[in-house]
Structures are given as structure tokens and as C-alpha cells.
Symmetry: C2
Subunit: 381 residues, 2 copies
């Protein structure tokens, strides 16, 4: 059987050397180029970066810069992280203490990608200093942190914004929401997300493998997925039906959860299922073949977010099937990243067009509740 | 935004007239051409067909004929169903009573696609007459029926075989199992099946919409999916984590369940999730864009069973990603349907190479248990 098949197999082999591995193939430094339109003049929106533990800070910074933001200062206790950031953005001023950023009253916002369990504490400092905060996901690792920040944002009116990159920094994922809003599939019945990620273990910091710091796989990469569900399904809340997280085959990292899955039912009756995992094989040329499937009463949709296997890499496209036709919508380089301009204007105008504060909290809350259920089931811990 | 996108949309429009709708576009008459190698000489394996309520009887018959079976007689109480079958297979002898088939000691097997809740009763008659039985799925609509047949097969040694077509009559789905057995993805961690089906309501008989007769969406099309899980994951049993079935938007058919989903954990720790639905939009050129995703410790796999949207229709292909490469394996017209020859030899030699009896029962049992959980949750009934 094998020999017979050999001639029918269309092969593509992708190889990267280690040096370029993180930049090209790992989601940790995912930062798409271009695609934002400046919404403000230079100096109108000032932000700084602080705590650069996760490479996503580069995606956050790039998005804000391309939307017209002005990068002022940067802080990290680790000089090498600081140097790398300053090399990438020579216009930025490195400061020696976080207080220098907190005390700078000219700043509108502080972008941050700290170790996950430190994000809420840092965010509270930023908010108490009178600025808005823009953190990498996951925004919280415990429900307590969430509750404290919910209270703080209500009391102060400041924003705790989150970089849910898998929708806001992906053209097809963003446009899927626009199409759904236009009624392309009728009423949404189900959103289903497949979210494989590449582990790249040797490039990951220690905290990545310590559950107290990263919070569990559903808390972490699950929060992205819930955010997409709430957006596409127009759900305000949901019930967790089932959740599971475990370490299948990475005994060297006993606190790593390499596989998770969970099911939600939205407050409007919509269904959501997601699988999250760290099993992207090395032969996959991107860090994860992320997909979203949406079933509606009047059509269905598949989103291929990062690659169209065997066809295009990178890719960012939608297969939309309606009652009349099926078509492919190529979003790459077309849709851009409107999120960042909307976020800047939200900060300046105190609006919620990029993402509502309660939506941001709810995406995290539901992923934390699902993680809690998974933890209660047992698993590796 | 819409105007801007217009030029980027690659459109394919598929239209069928009503006459060809069922034959080309509805899963009810799915019966792939060719691909079986005769395993016996004419007359060595004799079978008859009886109770032709579901069009799948044509797929069952075709598969057995192409593998070398000899079609002897046919029975149905409805003359028009009988006439249609005889027109398709002029070599067959129409008989006036089912007893004529039961009493024919030259027959090895009776193939049947009765109304689902009658399948066990008819199967018991066939088995008690000393022949094996080959029914369309779902093989049972209640756990009681299953228990009775389990007892009967153990007592008699006869076979209660099931046409789980979505694997055994699909080249990519069949070959996926072969690849997994060869270790292509390492140890299987998860199997996930998306199983949309076209409703084609106006072509469906009344019993299709009556839950007592069809048993619920998970009992019915869910049984296919569980069978694939047990096969791909080498699971012998499983626990139902969560199951849901409901009528989302077909108020005219109050007992139809148009959407279902369920999650299992295998006795070997593997995960299974499936969504089953009747929401294939009319613009989809096939009756369902069925997909299977397999995550393994050492690779992953996507099976596009019936179509590669925008690319090929029909299609039956596998995207396999290993640690070394990602490749597309085109199975259409290559793999064939070895199941039918194996089944014939199993009947003649009393072996279990095509499918084990306990595997057959377990696929149904787990789908019935999931349906039971879904029913207990509420839903439309």
C-alpha cells in the first residue's frame, strides 16, 4: 500500500535553522507586519512598554505604532530584554525603574507582557497611576485577580485592555466577525476552535512550565478561544459544560498541560467547543494550524488563520458557504488590523469600539472557570 | 469593505435541479462507485436485501457486489421501493414475503436498511434463521435493543454487522485508520469529527422526523462518529463527558434534532469530540463537508472526506503532518473499499477482520449513552 501511494503524495518539506525558529515558526513572537492605518497624529497617543517577558510585547507595540501611537519609554528589570527592545525600536527611551513610567503623566497607556500571574498586579499599578493598561493574554491567572481588577476598573473608569491576538491580530479572524455581523451565516449556532500551538520547549522561559505562573492551558491559550466565541456568537456569558486539561507526553515538564479541551453553552443558546494543545508537529511550517468553524442557521464558515496547508503559507482566509454558493475570501494583506486604531481611539475618547471591558473580563472569567473544572477533574496535578 | 473585497473573492457556484438533488447532493443515497476487489467467485457468497427504507441499502448492496457477492433476492412491503431496487439490479429476484428470504438456506447474509427502530427486530429474525445480518447504521435506537442483540449474537455466534459508511465507504477515512495503525501520528491523543449533513427535508420520509423511529441525532449520525473514534484511537470503551442535542431552527419538524455535540474520553485516555448537524447550506456542492482531525504525540492529520472546498469535488484526501514534513495524500480512486471484501470473508471464515462484533456494539452503545445524556439535559423533548 505504501509503495502504491508514494507517487500520489504531494510533498512540501519546510525546514528552519534554529536561529530563525522563534521568529518564523513560533507563536511566541507572532507579530504580523503592516496593515494598520494611523488614526492619530504623532504625539497624540503616547504609550510605553514595561515587562517584556513574553514576545507578544512586540506584536502589541507594532500594532500600536502602526495605528499612529507614539512609543515613549520602556522598562524591564532584565537588561538583555531591555536592550533587545531598544535595538528593535531605537526611538524608545529605556528607563531604570517602573516608577518612571508610572509617574509620567503624559502617557495614555502602558503595554505589557509580564509573567501571567504578575499581570494583574502590574495592571493595578498602571491603573492607579491614572493610565490605561494593555496586557498580553492571559490577563489573569486566578478569579481573585479578575475580581480585584473588575472592582478597580469600575471604581476608576480606567481600562484593562487585553491583546487577544488570535482574533485582533489575524486578518481572517477579524473579518470573520465582520461577516458574521453582516449576517453572512444567519444566526450563529456553534463556534468551534482548533488551536494547536508549537511548544518550542527549549526557547521557553522557566515560568512557561510552572502552573502557578502560567495558570494552565485553558487559562492561557484558552482565553483567546473564548474571546472569539463571545465575539462571533454575540454571547455575553456562558456556562461551562465540560473541561479537561492534562500532560499527555511531556514528562520532563510535569506542570505543563500540553492538551486541553472545553465546551461552553452561551447565554443565548450558542455552542462553543475548543481544543488547545502544544502538539504542532515540527513539519508544520507555521506555529499552529489554527482553525475556526462557525455553523449558522443560514450558512457556515471555516477560517484558516495562519496557513492553507499544501497551498499557501502564510495564509489568512475564510471559506464561506451560504445557501447560494461557496467561496474563498482571501484576507491576507486586505483586511489589516483595525483593532489597534480602535483601541487608541477608545483610550482617547473613552469609548468601547475595539472591545468592551466586560467582554474582556468575561473571556478570561470563562476560561478560568473552565480551567477550574479541568483542575477539579484531576489531570496531572 | 464589501466593495473592496469583491475582486478578491473566488467564487464557485453550484446548482442542481431537484431531480438530481438526491443522487448527487444528498447523503441519503451516498454510494461511491467502484473500488472493491472481488474476494470470492460468483455464487460463493450469497446475500439478499430486505427493508429498503433508507437509500443506504444501495451503498451496502453495491459494496457487497463489487467485492464478489451474489445478490439473490429482495423484499420490501412497498412495491415502489421493490421496483426501484429491481430496476437498479435486474439480476435480483423480488419475493413477496420476508419469510421467503428467512427460509432460504443458501443465503449467507441479509442486508437491510429498515426504519431504525425496526432494525434490531429484523436482525433478530435474520440471526434466528441462521444467517448474518448487515444493517445500515444506526443499528439500534435503544439500549434494550442492543442488549437483546448482544445476548442473541453471543448465544448463536451469528454476526450483526453495521454499515458505518462514513469510514468504511470513504477512501480517506479508511486510509486514515491504516496510516494511524502504521504509527503515522504516534500515539493518538484526540479524534475530532465535524459531521454536517444536508437535511433535504422534502425528500425525507415521515419516520425521519419522528424521534421514536430515528432515535435522535447522536444515536443516528453520531454512531458513525463514535465508530471512527474507537477505530482511530484504538479505544475499547469510553465515558461520555458531555452531550447535547436540540432543534435550533426547524420548528416545522418538532421532533427533529438538527444539532448535536458530544465529548467522550476513551478507556485509554484518548479524547473524542464530535459535532453532528443538519445544517449543510445549499451552496455546498456535497451533502456534507465532513472532516476528521487527529492529534497524535508525533504528528497530526486532517481528513477531508467528501470535498476540498474550492479545490476538488469530489475529494477524499488526508493532510498528514509529521515531525519532518506536511503532505497531502489523495485517496480518491486509490484506496478502494477493502471493508466489503473483508466482511464477506469474515462471514465465510467466521473471523473479525472487517470489524469486531464488540466494536460494532460499543460504537452504538456509546452513541446511545450520549443521546441519553443529551435527552436528560432537556432540549426539545
Amino acid at each position: 500500500m505504501h509503495g502504491k501511494l508514494e507517487g500520489l503524495i504531494h510533498q512540501e518539506v519546510y525546514r528552519d535553522n534554529d536561529e530563525s525558529f522563534m521568529s518564523n515558526r513560533s507563536g511566541a513572537s507572532y507579530a504580523p507586519e503592516g496593515g494598520c492605518v494611523p488614526v492619530v497624529a504623532p504625539g497624540d497617543f503616547k504609550f510605553s512598554a514595561a515587562f517584556l517577558d513574553h514576545g507578544h510585547i512586540y506584536g502589541q507595540t507594532k500594532g500600536l505604532l502602526e495605528a499612529g501611537g507614539t512609543l515613549c519609554s520602556v522598562y524591564d528589570p532584565d537588561q538583555s530584554k531591555l536592550d533587545a527592545f531598544c535595538k528593535k525600536y531605537p526611538q524608545v527611551k529605556a528607563v531604570q525603574t517602573f516608577d518612571e513610567i508610572l509617574d509620567d503623566e503624559s502617557l495614555h497607556l502602558v503595554a505589557s507582557a509580564a509573567i501571567p500571574d504578575a499581570r494583574a498586579r502590574i495592571g493595578a499599578q498602571v491603573i492607579e497611576s491614572g493610565k490605561d493598561y494593555f496586557t498580553d493574554k492571559a490577563p489573569f491567572t486566578t478569579l481573585d485577580q479578575l475580581q480585584q481588577i473588575r472592582t478597580l476598573t469600575r471604581a476608576t473608569g480606567r481600562k484593562y485592555l487585553v491583546y487577544y491576538a488570535e482574533r485582533v491580530h489575524n486578518e481572517a479572524a477579524w473579518h470573520a466577525g465582520e461577516l458574521i455581523n453582516q449576517g453572512a451565516v444567519g444566526e450563529v449556532i456553534q463556534v468551534l476552535n482548533l488551536a494547536p500551538h508549537r511548544l518550542s520547549a527549549k526557547y521557553r522561559p522557566d515560568w512557561f512550565f510552572q502552573k502557578q505562573h502560567y495558570g494552565g492551558i485553558i487559562t492561557d491559550i484558552g482565553s483567546h478561544q473564548v474571546e472569539q466565541f463571545l465575539t462571533y456568537a454575540s454571547a455575553k456569558d456562558a456556562t461551562v459544560n465540560f473541561a479537561l486539561a492534562k500532560n499527555v507526553s511531556h514528562a520532563a515538564y510535569p506542570e505543563l498541560e500540553d492538551f486541553g479541551e472545553f465546551s461552553l453553552t452561551g447565554d443565548n443558546g450558542t455552542s462553543f467547543y475548543s481544543r488547545v494543545d502544544w502538539f504542532t508537529p515540527d513539519g508544520m511550517p507555521v506555529w499552529g494550524d489554527g482553525r475556526t468553524f462557525v455553523v449558522g442557521t443560514n450558512g457556515s464558515m471555516e477560517v484558516r488563520k495562519y496557513i492553507d496547508p499544501q497551498r499557501n503559507n502564510p495564509a489568512s482566509l475564510i471559506h464561506l458557504t451560504t445557501q447560494d454558493e461557496t467561496r474563498e475570501i482571501d484576507c491576507l494583506g486586505v483586511i489589516g488590523y483595525p483593532f489597534f486604531g480602535q483601541l487608541i481611539l477608545d483610550v482617547l475618547n473613552r469609548t468601547e469600539n475595539s472591545m468592551g471591558q466586560e467582554h474582556i473580563f468575561k473571556a478570561s472569567e470563562l476560561s478560568l472557570l473552565a480551567q477550574e473544572m479541568a483542575d477539579a477533574h484531576g489531570g496531572a496535578f
